[in-house]
């Protein structure tokens, strides 16, 4: 099948990533381009999501397309035991593209094999969430003027955080330097460190939040989730260690921006929200432009 899908960030080359950046910037300037006039896009959310679903559906609406789908598989034929294969096969006969979120890992890759139309993965369990990565990249290029030679500090749950893993993969194209800040229990898995070494990407690991905070261009914060800990004592010990507060920012670089895929709990103190370096809400808004770019690129209409 010659359809182009977006299942993992690795499906896009460096050139394609840059193309998406260009298109996202175009859509930010031109928020209502009716490029999807007459097109129907299926938005299949087998598990609930607020931000991602609304952002995709906003993107489709702004492009003049129509949306069909569901936001919860509860009252669909899935609850009657229909297989993913059959649901995708059927819907791909109705729509011009499928945007899907599914709790099972690899569901989107499998759907892309079954579907007759392009599939966009809007999250498959703890595996991939490539549109998030592309909006993260768009936020970096927008605030830094470039993706090239940035120093990115990633903080929090580096073990399970899928946004972290995908961003590492994508940024490796661009001469990046990483600092990984995490408690030992949530440190970056070896396979990603191996990947970085193989690609000659410079990185350091530390448990000390302050060690390199004044040298980095981007702080990428993630949530430390209680359910990740086998030992709750350990959770209680580390949960307050990786909280970003405004006084920690006083000697940081002027171009520093703080990103977070949201939702946040307490890992970014509310007093940071007023800092010009806080960028996480704008980052979420960038999601619509990034998704407009992804959809039009895959459908070949832009």
């Amino acid at each position: 099948m010659s359809n182009k899908h977006l299942v993992s960030i690795g499906d896009f080359t460096k050139e394609e990533i840059l193309k998406i950046m260009e298109l996202a910037s175009f859509f930010e300037q031109n928020k209502s381009e009716r490029l999807l006039q007459g097109k129907v896009i299926a938005s299949l959310f087998f598990e609930p999501s607020t931000r991602t679903r609304l952002s995709f559906e906003t993107a489709i609406n702004r492009l003049g397309g129509r949306v069909i789908g569901f936001s919860d598989s509860g009252n669909t034929s899935v609850s009657k035991g229909e297989t993913l294969h059959d649901t995708i096969k059927m819907v791909s006969g109705y729509a011009d593209m499928i945007v899907m979120r599914h709790p099972v890992e690899g569901a989107a890759r499998y759907a892309s094999e079954v579907s007759m139309v392009p599939v966009v993965n809007a999250g498959d369990g703890s595996n991939q969430h490539p549109s998030q990565t592309l909006l993260d990249l768009y936020s970096i290029i927008k605030t830094q003027g470039t993706l090239q030679d940035r120093h990115i500090m990633m903080v929090g749950d580096l073990k399970y955080g899928r946004t972290v893993h995908s961003l590492i993969h994508a940024m490796s194209h661009f001469g990046v330097k990483f600092t990984f800040v995490a408690p030992e229990e949530l440190s970056l898995p070896d396979e990603y460190k191996m990947y970085l070494k193989e690609n000659s990407v410079e990185f350091t690991e530390t448990t000390d939040f302050m060690e390199q905070i004044n040298e980095c261009d981007i702080i990428y914060m993630t949530r430390v989730q209680r359910e990740r800990f086998s030992d709750l004592m350990e959770y209680e010990r580390v949960k307050n260690t990786y909280i970003l507060r405004s006084q920690m920012l006083k000697d940081t670089k002027d171009n520093l921006k703080i990103l977070h895929p949201l939702p946040r709990v307490n890992e970014i103190d509310k007093d940071v929200d007023d800092s010009p370096k806080a960028y996480y809400f704008e980052q979420a808004a960038n999601g619509v432009y990034a998704r407009m770019a992804i959809i039009t690129y895959l459908l070949g209409v832009k």
Partner: protein, 151 residues
């Protein structure tokens, strides 16, 4: 030359240099449990290279690429000889392939291959320590976690 501890065969295949503890896994992944051909095997045999080894001989059988790849999963250093009239007519060193489909399960219980009727597909990312990355969930299954999938 020392006497063979497992009898020679007239026509068929010999799989040699199987790790002693992998004998039954190799038998199972090749579905030798379900065939009617004559099979002789031995394990914990002395080996100068491996310390101990296992060997399997199957009469009137040949192995295609897909089956040679299956052997590689549990016996990456094995040799397969094809025998005709008691003579070795071809001898292959097993090679670990780049990709592998079916036969083993993905160790990730949340992988789509464990949730729907989907055949597993792996990229072999480490041929020495045998690490398999699922084409679907992208998680890694290591040799210690290999489980043979029926059918």
């Amino acid at each position: 030359m020392k006497n063979l501890e497992v009898n020679a065969i007239e026509n068929g295949i010999v799989i040699d240099h199987i790790p002693a503890n992998a004998l039954f896994k190799v038998m199972r992944i090749l579905s030798l449990e379900n065939i009617t051909n004559r099979i002789t095997f031995g394990t914990n045999l002395p080996s100068s290279r491996m310390g101990t080894k296992a060997i399997i001989k199957v009469s009137n059988m040949s192995l295609d690429k897909a089956n040679l790849d299956k052997i590689a999963i549990f016996a990456p250093n094995a040799y397969v000889s094809h025998i005709q009239n008691y003579k070795v007519v071809a001898k292959h060193k097993i090679e670990v392939p780049d990709n592998f489909e079916g036969s083993i399960m993905c160790a990730n219980p949340m992988c789509v291959t464990n949730k729907e009727v989907v055949r597993t597909k792996f990229q072999i990312i480490n041929k020495v320590d045998l690490a398999f990355r699922s084409f679907y969930c992208e998680k890694i299954t290591m040799l210690d976690n290999f489980e043979i999938r029926e059918g």
